[in-house]
């Protein structure tokens, strides 16, 4: 199973990129600081809006801050929001969706109502309003808000899945053996949802990174901490795009796109794992088939 998963180039590339950014988020700031001696907040007033070159590999912004150090520091901020937001969102989705699907009945009715409610609530405006009201919205607050308003879709899928699994024979069989309650959920049902949850988590993570960037773009984020979102916002505020300071806004945007692509690629793999029909549609498989048809067999 694992090998099937890793055999796809999409998954391998996706995982590699994700791991790279995770490492960057964890060790990057330390690396840029102690190895290259770069400080994302330092203002080099002798190099304002300098294009990539000596001393500043990725150039500087209008405040003379080193863009490389900023991108690296932004990785930490963005990934932090992404991971925390996804953890919160996924956790709520699991806590709401799985019991609803597994137990059914009144529990389901109540939880499902809440889910549907959050599903029809327009999230972005709501997040904006709530975040706007809160003062000094730090990245943690932003992440929590994003997580809190972004779980409903996942909960709905999980509910449907949990419901179908609760009716699968092996759950019935274990129940008949006398397995009960939490153990039934954790040992029998949840493992079957890991793929789904993993894919949900990745979705939620990129969703949170994007949402933070969007909120930052609208000016609702913690502009005193560095994230790719606040970088783009800063660039936008100083019209970096129209002034041609591409090294200010291109790297953070690309990083977000890269992470998003990576997460989507890994999700491809997870989907293929869950749905073998998709595996048959891999270009590699098709290519091999064509080749086989041409050569006329292994014999």
């Amino acid at each position: 199973m694992r090998t099937v998963f890793l055999r796809s180039w999409k998954v391998r590339i996706g995982l590699a990129v994700l791991v790279f950014f995770l490492l960057l988020a964890v060790f990057g700031p330390w690396l840029t600081h102690s190895v290259f001696g770069l400080d994302p907040r330092a203002n080099d007033t002798s190099a304002i809006s300098q294009s990539p070159g000596d001393g500043h590999p990725l150039g500087t912004n209008q405040y003379g801050q080193d863009m490389l150090a900023q991108v690296v520091a932004g990785a930490r901020g963005s990934m932090y929001v992404g991971v925390l937001g996804a953890v919160v969102g996924t956790a709520i989705a699991i806590l709401v969706g799985v019991p609803a699907g597994f137990y059914g009945g009144k529990v389901d009715t109540a939880l499902n109502f809440v889910t549907n409610l959050f599903l029809v609530m327009p999230t972005l405006p709501l997040v904006m309003i709530v975040a706007g009201y809160l003062q000094g919205t730090g990245l943690t607050t932003i992440a929590l808000i994003i997580g809190f308003f972004g779980w409903s879709g996942g909960a709905r899928t999980l509910r449907a899945q949990a419901m179908s699994i609760a009716n699968r024979d092996f759950v019935r069989a274990m129940r008949m053996l006398g397995e009960r309650g939490r153990r039934l959920v954790f040992a029998e049902v949840l493992p079957h949802l890991t793929g789904l949850i993993a894919s949900m988590f990745l979705h939620a993570m990129i969703g949170a990174v994007m949402a933070e960037a969007g909120l930052a773009f609208l000016g609702i984020s913690d502009s005193s901490s560095i994230s790719w979102g606040t970088m783009i916002q800063g660039a936008q505020q100083q019209s970096a795009v129209l002034r041609g300071l591409w090294w200010w806004f291109v790297p953070p945007g690309l990083c977000i796109a890269l992470i998003g692509t990576a997460a989507a690629l890994v999700n491809f793999g997870i989907d293929e794992l869950a749905n073998p029909k998709l595996r048959a549609a891999r270009p590699a498989t098709v290519r091999r088939t064509k080749q086989l048809a041409r050569t006329g067999g292994a014999a």
Partner: protein
């Protein structure tokens, strides 16, 4: 005897069908009413739970301009205009409900004394136009290409389109919009930089005005479509790949139908069902979804209104916009429920 047994049961079933379908709709309606009520209540309590009351913003403004301490009487008069935060909360709530029942969303603070409803009325058509049209275009385009990629899964077309789309849909929307703006409007000067129409023309259905609307809307629309169609495409591709391997598609091919017909009537028709749910949900988010677009392109819609009201802490407008968005989402959901029933006979006939 075959016929007797076969026709008896369904005939009995059919007789009962119509009144019960109403029951279903009524139950859904019940949910929507409950949801609306929750949204309204949330809308009411949210600002009241947050620090600062609505009249604070205006007091701030007044004092900032005069540079003088506000007299208690002046404070009172402002609170009279914007509601006294210290009044009984239940009374306020009832007043609020009564207000809403009259479609009175209050008075904008930053545009005092313009009613919120007239602000909404000014922005709504533009948002509906821009985002509504682009949502449909993105859906049609994404689903169409997705069906094609899924149909020829593993082909070169698929091998190029799918990863590319993955990347495109991962690019932050506003970022893409900024770059698009810079390139097409600033560098190439093909499209206007901001606004929704040529303001020199009088608003109406004259050809030149419609043309200007198209011209102004082209770039924002293109960027929305560009960033939104990827999701549909990938979803549709995967659904098609799955559907194509269903027996009924196999059988359709065995029947010797033309490839087009098999793809459209058999594969795509079935694969599009899950996507369709998403589509109606997306339609619901038309009003609220265009926020970033409208900000980037200075488009005169609801999203921009929300953005400015947020910047100016214009609570009544924020609440009004939120209320409007919630309403449209609920309406779209109701519509989705009803239309889905039409699209999928299995649900329609209650199988």
């Amino acid at each position: 005897m075959t016929a007797i047994a076969a026709s008896a049961a369904p005939a009995a079933g059919r007789r009962l069908r119509i009144p019960r379908r109403w029951g279903f709709l009524l139950r859904r309606l019940g949910f929507y009413l409950a949801a609306t009520w929750s949204a309204i209540t949330l809308n009411f309590f949210l600002p009241r739970m947050m620090p600062g009351d609505p009249s604070a913003a205006i007091v701030e403004k007044l004092q900032a301009v005069s540079g003088q301490q506000m007299s208690p009487s002046a404070m009172e008069s402002v609170q009279k205009v914007f509601g006294n935060p210290h009044a009984n909360i239940f009374r306020q709530y009832v007043d609020y409900l009564v207000q809403l029942a009259h479609f009175d969303l209050g008075i904008s603070i930053s545009n005092y004394p313009t009613p919120v409803t007239s602000l909404l009325r000014q922005g709504l058509p533009w948002t509906m136009l821009l985002v509504g049209v682009t949502t449909v275009i993105a859906f049609v385009l994404g689903t169409g290409i997705g069906a094609m990629a899924g149909w020829k899964a593993g082909s070169r077309f698929d091998a190029i389109v799918s990863p590319l789309t993955t990347f495109v849909s991962a690019v932050p929307y506003f970022w893409m919009a900024l770059v698009g703006l810079w390139f097409f409007a600033f560098q190439l000067d093909w499209f206007p930089l901001s606004g929704g129409y040529d303001a020199d023309l009088s608003i109406g259905f004259s050809p030149s005005f419609v043309l200007s609307v198209l011209h102004y809307g082209a770039l924002p629309a293109a960027t929305i479509v560009f960033s939104a169609f990827g999701g549909w495409l990938l979803g549709m591709r995967n659904m098609t790949v799955t559907t194509v391997r269903e027996d009924y598609v196999l059988l359709a091919q065995a029947k010797g139908l033309s490839g087009r017909r098999v793809m459209l009537r058999y594969a795509a028709r079935n694969a599009v069902l899950p996507n369709f749910t998403g589509f109606t949900l997306a339609l619901g988010h038309v009003v609220g979804g265009a926020l970033l677009t409208e900000v980037v392109f200075n488009y005169p819609g609801i999203g921009y209104l929300l953005y400015t009201s947020l910047q100016q802490r214009d609570y009544p407008v924020m609440q009004g916009v939120f209320f409007l968005i919630t309403l449209t989402v609920l309406l779209a959901n109701l519509l989705a429920d009803s239309v889905y029933v039409l699209l999928d006979p299995r649900i329609r006939e209650g199988g």
